[in-house]
């Protein structure tokens, strides 16, 4: 599944990122395979998404989140 499908409060592990569609800045902030991710909050229309990635709190647009593959670790 992609990060965009994660539900509020749900956690996961990043499995792959499509480096062509993801700004390098996001990778550098810790959005890399193997790191944990949790969806903390969403704005109306579920966009942007407020995430905790590897300890960094950040928000990205849904259009970016679809390029990040994850494996959910809890319901």
């Amino acid at each position: 599944m992609t990060l965009a499908e994660l539900k509020r409060g749900q956690q996961g592990i990043i499995t792959d990122v499509s480096s062509n569609h993801i700004p390098l800045k996001l990778l550098e902030m810790g959005c890399l395979p193997g790191n944990a991710v949790e969806l903390l909050q969403v704005a109306p229309f579920a966009d942007p998404m407020y995430l905790n990635i590897n300890g960094t709190h950040l928000a990205i647009r849904k259009e970016t989140a679809v390029h990040i593959l994850i494996e959910a670790t809890n319901e």
Partner: protein, 704 residues
């Protein structure tokens, strides 16, 4: 002479880098521009132990050495250029104890450049709260550096940092990890082709082109035996490099840092549940806005009125004290009035920046951006455009400066271009007098027509801004990497010193940068209104006395002033543009008002006061009375055929003209400064004023 060393402060945003800068330099700092671009260059002097002095540069905050904005590019340009006069003898990397893992990424990159580097771990006061403990000696050994554990909030560790800077020569310049392992053969060929260069430096130069498109890569292609790679390949390598760095950092921190999650508290999550809530988030934001407007409109009006009165008293005093003559007039009506015109903007600007810097320092601004991004995105704007669009309702100048943190150049440019449509406070006096003149009294659903008209003008302004953003987004063909990543920092109580320095610095920038231009325009306007060619101007006194010998001296003086104005250069201009503005329902006197309004809109009312020759009204104690006198004169103004000048049609037309036209020199000056080109302010001037003309024309022709 004592030796001065160059120190560069580098760090992620939100690490308190600027607080470290303020702690080191105090008021010994200045803000300038990097040549050719509008990125602020903050530098200062710090006295070190043993008579050494440090020249400190506060480089823009960046997450890595791979630049994605002009601000970040400044960091690389400096670190790659050994010949730059600011090239650091020692780099100080500022990190935040809560985000050490991420902060260390940038640190390892800078270490790879073989610059002596000190690691500052800031916000040590939060360690206990977050359950963090560090093994500093182990970290120093692994990271091959000296560490200063400090807290700018509690003012701890600054002296230790100064001591470390003094002893910069003892620092190791060995890299933390070997970058070339990500693609050994590629890096070997690089090394072979450029044997005298640092490989990591070459790698940065090559990849900057991928990210930014500024550095010239042609030199690399010229060298034989060296084949560079495709952009996609390079990007994959960069990803690999980032992963390698994180592996190193994770291993280092596994031993060097322990986090006791049980004792860690996180206020951020709890606050964010309310502040970024789908409903409450917007409600709270709305209330904060209300308070901000109250401050900028209402609280700021007291100091503004004082400044205004002070300068007009000063001008009066000069006029009455100094010997009469052209110089006295220029000083009183041109220069002092001009400086006063700049000074009255200081209170609203200071208040606005006080609020904005409080919101930013506390971390709340990121939440607003998060809440608004979805809505703004639909109009080609960014969530980060919210701040300028709100501030524009007070004054477009600080608003346009506040657009700086928008990463995408296209979104930032659109924000700058549409912000002047929002109803700034300078339009208010114009609206008030014209509405009271042409809008009938009476109520609709308990609200007066006049108040409704004023409110509609505000709404029209905001909608026009958003709608033109939508159009600009469609027609502007600017290639600009557009993405949206915003860090949501933890909430902090703002540091008074930081807020104060921000307010001081922004206000100073406005006064000196925009001020120069406003002053120049005021002086030119004064000349144009005070001089005229030929008999009708120069012999105004004689002509009026001859025509109206029986009038009192006061009445004669009024007529002389009117005669002079009509035949001054600016009067001639007014007459010359009359054919163009007649279809809009304006006479030549309003035309002069329009022309002088281009210095600043609020000049309109003052100009009309002069034009309708009520010079004596200035002596009235009560301002309302003076206003009503202008109003009476205006409502009595008739064309030669006896029809009124100010009717509903011409009034509405004038209101709409003021709503849309670009009539503010200071805004144009700031747009020039921020876009670094005359092209955009000229477009703004022509398109906004052209649009205003057409709308006003239609309004008058339909309503008359």
């Amino acid at each position: 002479m004592s030796k001065q060393i160059n120190v560069a402060l580098i760090g992620n945003p939100n690490t308190g880098k600027t607080s470290v800068f303020n702690a080191l330099t105090g008021l010994n700092q200045k803000v300038g521009n990097y040549p050719g671009i509008t990125v602020d260059k903050k530098e200062g002097i710090c006295k070190l132990p043993r008579g050494l002095k440090a020249h400190i540069i506060d480089l823009p905050g960046t997450y890595s050495l791979n630049a994605s904005s002009l601000d970040e590019n400044v960091v690389i340009e400096l670190l790659l250029n050994k010949n730059d006069k600011d090239y650091p003898d020692v780099a100080v990397v500022v990190s935040d104890v809560e985000n050490l893992k991420r902060n260390l990424l940038l640190y390892t990159q800078i270490k790879d450049l073989q610059i002596p580097t000190i690691l500052v771990i800031n916000m040590s006061d939060r360690m206990e709260y977050k359950g963090i403990s560090l093994d500093i000696l182990y970290l120093e050994e692994q990271l091959k550096t000296k560490i200063a554990l400090i807290s700018t909030r509690k003012n701890k560790g600054i002296e230790q940092l100064k001591e470390l800077i003094t002893k910069y020569k003892e620092l190791s310049t060995e890299a933390c990890l070997d970058t070339s392992i990500i693609d050994a053969s590629y890096f070997n060929s690089l090394k072979k082709a450029f044997p005298n260069q640092l490989v990591y430096k070459l790698w940065l130069v090559i990849t900057q082109d991928v990210n930014f498109g500024k550095t010239d890569r042609a030199t690399f292609d010229k060298v034989e035996d060296f084949k560079t790679k495709s952009n996609a390949d390079l990007k994959r390598l960069q990803q690999k490099e980032t992963i390698k760095r994180y592996q190193f950092i994770n291993e280092t921190l596994k031993k060097g840092q322990t986090i006791d999650l049980k004792s860690a508290k996180d206020l951020r999550i709890k606050l964010d549940r309310i502040l970024t809530h789908k409903v409450w988030g917007y409600v709270i934001f709305f209330f904060i806005l209300l308070i901000m407007f109250q401050a900028v409109y209402d609280w700021a009006s007291y100091p503004t009125d004082l400044i205004d009165a002070g300068f007009s008293n000063l001008a009066n005093w000069v006029q009455h004290t100094l010997p009469e003559g052209a110089f006295t007039n220029l000083l009183a009506e041109g220069i002092i009035a001009g400086i006063g015109g700049i000074m009255v903007f200081i209170p609203p600007i200071a208040f606005l920046f006080l609020f904005i810097s409080l919101l930013e320092e506390s971390g709340y601004m990121s939440r607003v951006v998060f809440l608004m991004d979805n809505i703004m995105k639909r109009f080609g704007l960014s969530g980060k455009s919210v701040v300028p669009l709100i501030s524009g309702n007070a004054c477009a100048i600080p608003a346009i400066m506040a657009a700086r943190n928008i990463e995408s150049w296209k979104e930032r440019l659109i924000t700058i271009l549409v912000t002047p449509f929002t109803t700034c406070s300078a339009r208010l006096p114009v609206y008030v007098i014209i509405i009271s003149l042409v809008i009938p009294e009476g109520t609709f659903l308990g609200l007066s027509f006049q108040a409704l008209t004023l409110m509609s003008l505000y709404i029209i302004g905001f909608l026009t801004a958003v709608f033109s953003a939508y159009i600009l987004n469609k027609i502007l063909k600017i290639k600009s990497k557009s993405y949206f990543v915003i860090e949501m920092p933890s909430y902090k109580i703002p540091l008074f010193k930081n807020v104060l320095l921000t307010v001081l610095e922004k206000t100073k920038t406005f006064v000196f940068e925009a001020g120069k231009i406003i002053l120049a325009i005021s002086i030119v306007l004064w000349f144009l209104a005070s001089y005229g060619p030929g008999e009708p101007f120069n012999n105004a006194e004689a002509i009026v006395q001859q025509k109206h010998p029986n009038l009192s001296e006061d009445q004669q003086n009024d007529l002389i002033a009117e005669q002079k104005l009509e035949h001054s250069y600016i009067g001639i201009v007014g007459k010359a543009i009359e054919p163009a503005i007649r279809p809009l329902g304006y006479d030549w006197k309003i035309g002069i008002g329009l022309v002088t309004s281009f210095a600043a809109r609020e000049v309109f009312v003052g100009t009309l006061a002069t034009i309708y020759s009520i010079g004596s009204a200035n002596d009235l104690e009560d301002e309302d009375e003076a206003m009503s006198t202008i109003k009476n004169r205006m409502s009595e103004e008739v064309y030669s055929d006896g029809s009124k000048v100010f009717t509903l049609a011409s009034g509405i037309s004038l209101l709409l003209f003021y709503a849309f036209a670009m009539q503010c020199m200071s805004t144009l000056a700031i747009v020039k400064r921020e876009t670094n080109s005359w092209k955009w302010p000229v477009y703004q001037l022509v398109i906004m004023s052209g649009f205003a003309y057409i709308v006003a024309l239609i309004a008058f022709q339909v309503l008359k």
